[in-house]
Amino acid sequence: MKIFEYQATGLFKKYGIPVTEGILCSSAGEVEAKIPDDGKSRVVKAQVYSGGRGKAGGVKVVTGKEATVEAAGQILGMKIKDFVVEKILITEAVTIEKEYYVGMVNDRNTRSVILMVSTEGGVDIEEVAALSPSKIFRTAVDPVVGLMDWQARSAALKLFSEPDLLRQASGILSALYRLFRDTDSTLTEINPLVLTSGKKIVAVDGKMNFDDNALYRQPGILAMRETTDTEALEIEAEGKGLSYIKLNGTIGCIVNGAGLAMATMDMIKLYGGEPANFLDIGGSSNPQKVIDAMDLLIRDKNVKTVLINIFGGITRCDDVALGLIAALKKIQLAIPVVVRLSGTNAAEGLQIIRDYGLQPVTSMREAAKKAIELSKTKS
C-alpha cells in the first residue's frame, strides 16, 4: 500500500522529524480560502503516487496568493503517468543550502532493513544508483536489534560533519527507522532532506510504502488508504479472495495460483495474444469465486475471450469442473470461454465440461492458441 506525500510527511512530523508545514487542498476555491494574502513564497505540489512529478510540471514555486491560486489551478486535474491530480499540498518555501537523500527498504538478500543516504538529493535516486552507485552509502540494520545509535551517527557522518548538524541528522535517521519499523513499511524515503540556510535539517518531501500483509495490525495506516479506480477494482477483488490486476489486452484470464496465472499470461503473449488481466482465484473449487472472477473480467470492455486455466492438485479437476459449470450457468457470458483442465482427475473433469456443451482442452499451449484465435475472430 502507498500513501501520498502529505500523509508521509504527516507521519514524519508525528515521529519528530522536522518537515515543511503544508496545507492540503483539492480545489482552487479551497486554495483561495486557505492561503493568506501575505506575499510569501510557497511550493504547490501535486499529490500523486508516481515519481517524476517535477518533470511533469506537478511542482511549482510561486510567490503571493494570486500566483499560488493560479498554479493550483494548473496542477489540479493534471495527468501524471496515468494518475489524475486530485489533491495538492501547498507548503512554505525554504531556502535550500543543500539537498540530500535518505531512504530505507527491506532487502531480500540480507533479509534486513537497508538504510541508504546520499549527498545526491532532490534528484531521481534510481538514476544515482545506476550511474554513480558509490554516491549512495548503504548500511544493513539487524532486524532483531534495530538501528543502533552509532549506526545512525555513522550514516549521518556521510552527509554532515558539524556536531550540531550531525545530532539533527542522527536524530532524524533514528526517528525514521522507528517509523519504518512501527508501521511495517517496505519503503520510506525523504527526498530531498534539506539543509536550510538557517542550518536546520528538514524533510521537504516524503514517500512511504507499506507491507500489505501487515495491514491487519496497522489500522492507522490502513485508514490512510486512498485508491484510484484501478486500485479500487484490485481491492474489491482482494475482498472476494481474488488477486486481480487489470492490463490492456483482450484475453481475460482466470487461473488457480499466482505463478500459473503469470505463466498463462506469458503463454498468451508467446503465441501472439495480449492478456487482459492477471487473476488468481486461489485453490478452492467454490463456484462463487469463478462467478466473482467473471464479474470482474466482463467489466473490462476490451475482453473478447475468457481463458480459464485450472491445474487440479489437491482440489480435484472434477470438483473444479462442477464449480465452473455452476458459475457458467449463473452468468450468461456473451463472449467465448476456453476451459483448460489438467492434473488430478482431469479425465472426469473434462467429461463434465464436455457434457455441458463446451470443448475443453488439456494443455496450456492449446488453451492459449484457441483463446487467441477466438479473440481475433470476434473482434
Binding site: N109, D184, D211, Y216, L247, G259, L260, M262, F311
Partner: protein, 290 residues
Amino acid sequence: MGILINKNSKVIVQGITGRDGAFHTAKMKAYGTNITGGVSPGKAGLSVEGVAVFNTVRDAVELTGADTSVIFVPAPFAGDAILEASYAGVELVVCITEGIPVHDMMKVTDLIKRNGTMLIGANCPGLITPDECLAGIMPGNIFKKGSTGVISRSGTLTYEVVYLLSESGLGQSTCIGVGGDPVSGLYFTELLEMFENDPETESIVLIGEIGGDAEEQAAQFISAGITKPVVAFIAGQTAPQGKRMGHAGAIISSGTGTAEEKIKAFIEAGVPVAREPAEIADLIKSGSGF
C-alpha cells in the same frame, strides 16, 4: 533419498487442529509421511486424524523425536510458530502459511539461523521426496520418483511443471516450493548446492518468477559451481511494473526484478530457459543426454 526429507523424516504438524492443518495431515499420512505428532496449545491429549496432539513443539519433539515440522498457523502467529519450532530443536521447518508480515520474517529468519534451523517458506506448498515423504500441501499423486530436482517459487505452476515432467517420464528426486514471499528460508543457491551433492539427483529444474534477484544469483552460482544440468523457467514476462502479482514477492520494483533480466542472466550462465512449461522436459532430456 533426495534432499531435506526422506522416508526417515519424522514430521509434526503445528496448527493440527485447524481446518487446513487437519486436512493436510490426513493427506500427508495417506501419502506415507511419518507424522509423529501435532501441536495445538491447550489441546494436548486430543487426537487428530489418528495423530497425537501436544501442547508445545518441545513436548512433541521430546516425546516423538520429530525432526521436521509443517506449519498451518494463521499469519499473525506463524512467525512465532517458526520460532517455537526452531527453539525446540526442529531441524527443518516448513511454513505453509501465507501473509506473514515481512518485518516478522526478517526477525524470524535471523533468529532461527542462530539455532541452525532450516526453513522452507513461508507462503509455500512445502516439499516432497516422491514415494518417501510429503511435507506440505502438494498433490502427491502427480509426483513420480526419479532423478530431477525441482526448486520453485510457485505452487500450481510447479504442479503443472511436475505433471509434465512425470508425463514425459522424468521423475523427481525432491521437489521444493520455496515460497512466494520476499523474505524466505532456504532459496535457490542453498538448494542447488544440496542437489549438486545429492547422488540421486541428475538434473535440476528451477522455476523462478519476477521480483528480487534470486534468479540472477542462482545463475551466477550455477555457472560457478553446479555441474549437473539445470533448466530454468521464469514466470511473469508480461507482468506490469509496481504491481504485486499474487505473491508478496512477485513485484517489479523500479524496473528491477524483471523476467527479462533473469532470463538474460540464465542464458549468460549457460542455463537453458524454457519458453513454456512443456519445453522443460525436452531441454532436460537434451541437456542431460537422456
